[in-house]
Symmetry: C2
Subunit: 168 residues, 2 copies
DNA sequence: TTAAACTTTCAGTAATTATTGAAACTTTAA
DNA sequence: TTAAAGTTTCAATAATTACTGAAAGTTTAA
């Protein structure tokens, strides 16, 4: 298999899977293409390799930069901008985890805390049940939050193995 | 605030947030409603409380049952089915993590392993880069997989605190 | 058996989200 | 300056995903 085809296969697969992660197909594809190229690429390189419109590439590239997954670069003597993906998998993971926390965890916590601050009127049994549920959820979300941070620190095999042992 | 309103607020919020988790709004709403009711509810209860069609409630309830988040129940003397949510937050988390692993982690691992099995033709530098990336990704995904399993086992404060200390 | 009570399915439609492409904008080199 | 090269924006459209409602199917009690 030629490297170009292998890259394309990776790009397509990553794109499909991206949608399962709640990430736009194009954004995932662009990221994949940058990941598997040692050189940085221009908007046009990306456009023609994965057949996307200029607007699409521009928008999603901005989003990738915002996620800290991609950096802008300039080449000597070239006017246009080039883009390169962060290649450190643990660094990538860190940024993805942070982004997902922001989108998925933080808003839930806000909701729960808001409701816990309310005075609830109803039969004692119902109120008790409702509040107990909120409390469990709140505590759980806190732990998840901490856990997500910790997961990122586990990038050394030493720590990872100690943890494995601890839980076995 | 009346308990009915508090429940509705929770249901609405959970529904909105559900979409950020890649879960259909209705499914999240139904789950939320069951979570905050001490009694099990019938399809019709759910339909009228959150204003959803019968088909929608039926379909999403089946999905919730498939995720092991909800159980069917029968009431003495009643012909229709009732539904109750699992109230154990760590058990809920376990099922959600398993489901997400199945949808989000497993397919990526397959893709990566498939590509690693290929012979790649290209310049040494490009091939080396491509394969190194796949290797990193593969190892990383393995660790993530293990980590997800472990996260679930951390439901005791004792373990959680030891881990915290270890990583601080 | 039959008919009422209840559940499931699914074609059609609505709502949401992603993508295009062209016009407007910005930067740079002559 | 100005015009060519490059970038950004965004209204229109396409693609995807979720929801409805009614018809078909199933179960149960008389």
């Amino acid at each position: 298999m030629k490297i170009e085809d292998a890259r394309l296969a990776f790009v397509q697969g990553w794109g499909t899977l991206g949608t399962a992660w709640g990430i736009p197909r194009s954004m995932a594809q662009i990221h994949a293409l940058l990941l598997c190229n040692p050189e940085s690429l221009s908007t046009e390189d990306v456009m023609e390799t994965i057949q996307l419109s200029r607007g699409n590439v521009n928008t999603n590239m901005r989003e990738l930069i915002h996620w800290n997954l991609v950096k802008k670069q300039h080449k000597l003597g070239e006017r246009k901008e080039f883009f390169a993906a962060d290649q450190e998998i643990w660094s990538i993971a860190q940024h993805i985890v942070n982004e997902r926390k922001r989108r998925e965890l933080v808003p839930v916590q806000q909701l729960v805390k808001e409701l816990r601050g309310e005075m609830i009127e109803g039969t004692p049994n119902e109120v008790k049940h409702f509040q107990a549920m909120l409390k469990d959820l709140d505590e759980f979300l806190d732990q998840m939050n901490t856990l997500a941070d910790m997961a990122i620190k586990l990038n050394s095999n030493v720590l990872f193995k100690r943890l494995l042992k601890m839980l076995s």
